[in-house]
């Protein structure tokens, strides 16, 4: 819209001054402003706050002392490392259970001759839409020994003796909560895989059929290699989600203490407790900021690995 013009030979260049395109500013400013103030600044500020503590009633700069306390002082370190370990386990379980299931479902849904694919898709995505509160509570009910739905079901299939109140047992609570989370969220990677599978060109698959490949081989040798970028994307999204959003479900089911006995404590619940306090534990703003910053770094490591390690290697085969 704005151009500059020069005549080649004249001594004075007749350059029209480029008018400032105010409208660009108007279009960009509101979003950038809200985003910066309420998303970026708080994160930056949290990082900054983690370098401070209250000493004798005054906020003072303490450098990395909070971090040292977090990782070495028993009261904090125990919780931190426990939460971290649980979170890693949560992530691994999601990667090993949720994503293969999502891939399998997406693969089945993408068979072109499948009748009712749209209906199945709608059904499978439904749990993802529910509030964690709903999901947490209903599964609590289902798995509760009092209500009897699960024991009855297990008796029905002859495994009655294997029933345990899994949510209430230290050894099994985390895994159980993870499975509930998987139940709820499998729809998202499923959709992403499905979209990626659809994007494999139809003619390429037909060429493979002519070359003699059957459905199974076509999946392994043609489709899977071509959706590797999506596998990477799903991986990093799972990572980020597991370290941040896992709070909601666990808080709903097990409460702020993430029992039993901290066995379901993850970084999110730990952060919440640290920041706000819970029952007998007092909130500590600065330690909270420290936990948040640790979480930020953990996520940064993941995202960094993805952007520079994984994504570069999984080149997209766009023609």
């Amino acid at each position: 819209m704005s151009t500059s013009a020069e005549t080649p030979d004249s001594g004075v260049s007749l350059r029209r001054r480029t008018p400032i395109r105010w409208y660009i500013l108007v279009f960009l400013a509101p979003a950038t402003l809200i985003y910066t103030v309420f998303a970026i600044y708080p994160i930056a500020e949290s990082l900054r706050l983690s370098l401070f503590q209250v000493e004798s009633g005054e906020r003072s700069y303490v450098g990395f002392a909070n971090y040292a306390r977090l990782m070495s002082e028993p009261y904090w370190a125990e919780q931190f490392w426990n939460a971290f370990k649980n979170n890693v386990l949560l992530f691994l379980l999601h990667m090993l259970i949720q994503n293969p299931i999502a891939l399998a479902l997406a693969a089945m849904l993408s068979v072109p001759t499948l009748k009712g694919a749209a209906t199945y898709r709608t059904i499978f995505f439904l749990p993802t839409l529910l509030s964690v509160v709903v999901v947490g509570f209903i599964w609590q009910l289902i798995l509760s020994p009092l209500w009897g739905v699960t024991p009855a079901f297990m008796n029905f299939i002859g495994a009655g003796s294997f029933f345990r109140p899994w949510l209430g047992l230290e050894t099994s609570a985390l895994v159980t909560v993870t499975l509930i989370s998987i139940w709820q969220y499998v729809g998202i990677p499923m959709m992403l895989f499905y979209a990626a599978l659809l994007n494999v060109p139809e003619e390429t698959i037909e060429a493979a059929r002519i070359d003699g490949l059957s459905g199974w081989s076509i999946f392994w040798k043609i489709k899977l290699p071509l959706i590797l970028p999506t596998l990477g994307l799903v991986g990093i999204l799972t990572y980020i989600g597991n370290f941040t959003a896992s709070f909601d479900l666990i808080y709903s089911i097990q409460g702020g203490l993430a029992g039993p006995d901290g066995s379901t404590d993850v970084m999110g619940t730990f952060l919440f407790r640290t920041f706000f306090g819970f029952q007998s534990q007092l909130g500590d703003v600065y330690m909270g900021a420290t936990v948040a910053s640790m979480l930020f770094f953990i996520i940064l490591v993941g995202v960094g690995t993805y952007l520079f390690g994984v994504q570069r290697r999984l080149q997209r085969y766009t023609s």
């Binding site: 709608t122 959709m191 992403l192």
Partner: protein
């Protein structure tokens, strides 16, 4: 050959049906039991409510003992206003990024979209301080601002990707006709992004409606409670009154289900069209 295909097709359907049952069963359980009397819930949880066991006492409890209509309207306001802001501001920013070249446009683009990978919750500590300092504690406004900030990156990303594929010509011809850039945005670009609005809307709306973290932290007060928080507190209070709890859950599910039913086709089309970029 055809036989083999038929068998594997049946096998696939078997798996998909089984999983459908797994996905729907808990939902069905909630709704069925929300309409039963307390005794019936306990006694025969799997049974469909019949004349004997039917009871709307759960719903009655919900409506009388808690301020669900208020929570509902809170959720509605927060989600609705956030959505409008996300859509409008997001479209504006995406339009600026995709249409115009200016110094720093690549940087701003990356800056805005970075938010997809950086969870806003991490800044909660400072966010709460900020909200309090601004005098917005326990207000719906605080929630709206935070959710808008949260939803903008993905909205901008989806809109930008979409707008990039729209040809310049229609906008250029509007320019030749003398329309200002603002008019071009509202009268030419906005109608153009209609196909993806549903996608962005559903993507944004659901995490906002279902969110527990921010209502809990920023606006837990009675007047500003959202449905999700309300249900959670309600469950805490009324754990034994299962009929009421189940009714509350059903009430919480309903709007999401309705929105999903209406928009599912567009949502899936939108996801399959735009979400594959890595």
């Amino acid at each position: 050959m055809i036989m083999r295909e038929r068998i594997s097709s049946a096998g696939i359907h078997a798996v998909l049906l089984a999983y459908s049952a797994l996905a729907l069963f808990p939902l069905a359980l909630i709704v069925i039991n929300s309409l039963k009397s307390k005794r019936a819930i306990f006694g025969s949880p799997l049974a469909i409510p019949d004349a004997e066991s039917f009871s709307a006492e759960g719903y009655a409890s919900v409506l009388t003992n808690s301020d669900f209509p208020l929570y509902f309207s809170n959720s509605l306001i927060v989600t609705g206003v956030s959505l409008v802001l996300i859509l409008l501001l997001g479209a504006m920013a995406a339009h600026a990024l995709s249409e115009y070249r200016f110094p720093g446009d690549a940087f701003i683009g990356i800056y805005l979209i970075l938010g997809i990978m950086v969870p806003i919750r991490l800044g909660t500590v400072a966010l709460l301080e900020l909200i309090v300092d601004m005098g917005l504690a326990n207000t719906l406004t605080a929630l709206i601002l935070v959710y808008t900030a949260q939803g903008l990156p993905i909205a901008i990303f989806i809109f930008t990707e979409f707008l990039r594929s729209v040809s310049r010509e229609i906008k250029d011809s509007a320019r030749i006709d003398g329309l200002s850039e603002y008019r071009i945005f509202f009268e030419v670009v906005v109608p153009l992004v209609r196909p993806v609005i549903a996608t962005v809307a559903v993507f944004s709306m659901i995490p906002i409606w279902n969110d527990l973290w921010f209502p809990l932290i920023l606006s837990p007060g009675e007047e500003t409670r959202t449905v999700t928080l309300g249900v959670q507190q309600f469950i805490g209070q009324y754990t034994v009154n299962w009929g009421a709890v189940l009714a509350a859950l059903s009430v919480a599910i309903l709007p999401v289900l309705v929105m999903y039913m209406i928009f599912s086709k567009q949502l899936i089309r939108g996801i399959t069209a735009g979400a594959v970029k890595g």
